[in-house]
Amino acid sequence: MKRTLDTGNAAITEGAIIAGCRLFAGYPITPATEIAENMSRRLPQVGGYYLQAEDELAALHICVGASLGGLKAMTATSGPGYILYADPYGWAIGSEIPVVIVNAQRVGPVSGITGAPGQGEFYLSRYPTQGGNFETIVLAPNSVQEAFTLTVEAFYLAERFRTPVTLLADQLVTDGWETLIIPETEEEIQAMGLKVIPRRINEGPEFYPATDEIDIPPVVLGHNTGAACSDWTPTAEGYDTEEVEWQHKHAYRLIYKIRNHKDLITRYESYFLEDDPEVILVSYGSPSRVVKSAVKAAREKGLKVGGLRLISLWPFPDEIFTKTAKYLSVELNYDGQLVREVQRAMPKGSEVHFMGKCGELPTVAELMELIEALIKGQPLKAKPWEMEAW
């Protein structure tokens, strides 16, 4: 094992390389530029290709094209670039091409504040393209080390489900410096619980079978398999069709290959839930670090408080919301995105409250104030980041 002090950007780079990524195409944007820079240095050393694209539409298209030719590929961006991915993202979902997409979330909308953390793309990562009729896979690290392991995981899931996977990070995770442990041998990779699978090739003639099964190799061009892949609704062989029956089969596959194997995707962390706490804080990404400290501090004061940290965001892990409690969703946005899903997933008799910040983390003191108020049943004081009665 190699133990270093490094950034989330470096962790993502090394994770991708261990996962077998051999092409990166990107476009400069704070705070994801460093991933591109790291890739431009590291990829050639391992026989991989770095490209700077003319825009993000091209960046993801180049990645998808490379994947279509059999190379594992990744791109990285932030909000303004992530929105431009919409077109190739949809192509890769529909044609079922594995690719990994990193979004180092910053403050929005549009350019917003460039070098500060935000969490505004929770829903966009669920619906990163138009048309509906699909599910997406989204993972969210909260540390440098987890940025590494989840990048490896993202490639693994992308191959098995043959679909794009978004690593939804934030500026504090990607720019932050922490200890990073990198495995150096096959044994060490396995010992860390990391899984890597090589690209397989679909030999046809059924490239788009109407099934929810996973582990079907994707289309890889250049092997004269007679593959056909496009943006149109495909028949099993990949011919473009306007038959509604095929559209139904295709949509079924895109939705249920993911929904019916959700157990392979869902990851979360829970703490202090055993004694049915009155208040449960829900978070993901960098705010979850403060949330954990606040929950511990509350416990030390004898308050019955627990925490749920989402590691996989989509498909949303409804099933982990088993406790009837007052939920407090802590997010890096003021509009409340996660809070809506919590409201939908929580058991009857629960409440959901929201604490939003953006560009900076909440403090333990701010969270403690809210926890105490919720436990006492007091209304939350009106602050800019508060929205009561969801």
Binding site: L23, A25, L43, P44, Q45, V46, G47, G48, Y49, L51, A53, E54, D55, L57, A58, H61, I62, C63, V64, G65, A66, S67, L68, G69, G70, L71, A73, D87, P88, G90, W91, S95, L221, G222, H223, N224, T225, G226, A227, A228, C229, S230, D231, W232, G238, Y239, D240
Partner: protein, 282 residues
Amino acid sequence: MDYLATKYLRPRKIPSTACSGCGLGQIHKKVVKAIDELGLDVGDVVWGTGIGCAGRQTFATWKGDNFAGTHGRVYALATGLRIALPPNKKIILTVGDGDAFGIGFNHLLNCARRNVDLTVIVCDNLGYMSTGGQYGWTTPEGYRTDSSPYGMWEPNWMQGGRDVLNILREAGATFLARHTSIEGQEAVESIKKAILNKGFSLVHMPYPCVTNFAERALGSRRPAVMYKWFKERTVKLNERVDEKALGDIYFRTGIYYDASNSRPEFAEALRNRVAEIQRRFR
């Protein structure tokens, strides 16, 4: 089915779903003929398309491997694919004028700049035809379409001293030709050269759209009317023409620019560079 179709195309997609009288089939056939005359096999070519009539009518007609990109983006997709594929595989794209010279122009120019080994056949029906017939960036000045009911007034890429092929040449393309679909073997020869160039090649091929363009612009869907219009406007590069007498758009055909294999191909240069850096780090 004729010899070419039997050898290279899928029975399922023949006959084509294009309108009867459409010139697209003439282009399609010329590309397949060029492939055949070069002695290439089904497995030697990966065929890509864009959106629109040009895209949809040629997609998955090839017996080998096929792909179709979203509108205007197939050039970027093909750039990634070019890097991943062995250098001896040919990538041929049949795309529309709106796809290449409109929505996808930025990507197209960047492919030319990089000199990515692609053969792009722009099937130009003088506008956006699969959407019903709106003007595009090669629609001749003054001609009527559904979205230029008073005549095309915007400057296009073809007239007023502009030629889209000049822009592509400046951008770095290494083979450029123009032929109308009604031309014969000379067009096939140009396509062959385009395929043989290890670099970015583009053949601009204006063709008659009888259903939408001709109907609005010439007031007739009769193929004879549209073919006559094309015939009068197909002028060899070195042929003298009285431009004033014609007073209208005309298509100068032939090889515009042949710098085949004169500068490094992008994917190959990238591979070489990576190999060199890798050697240093071993």
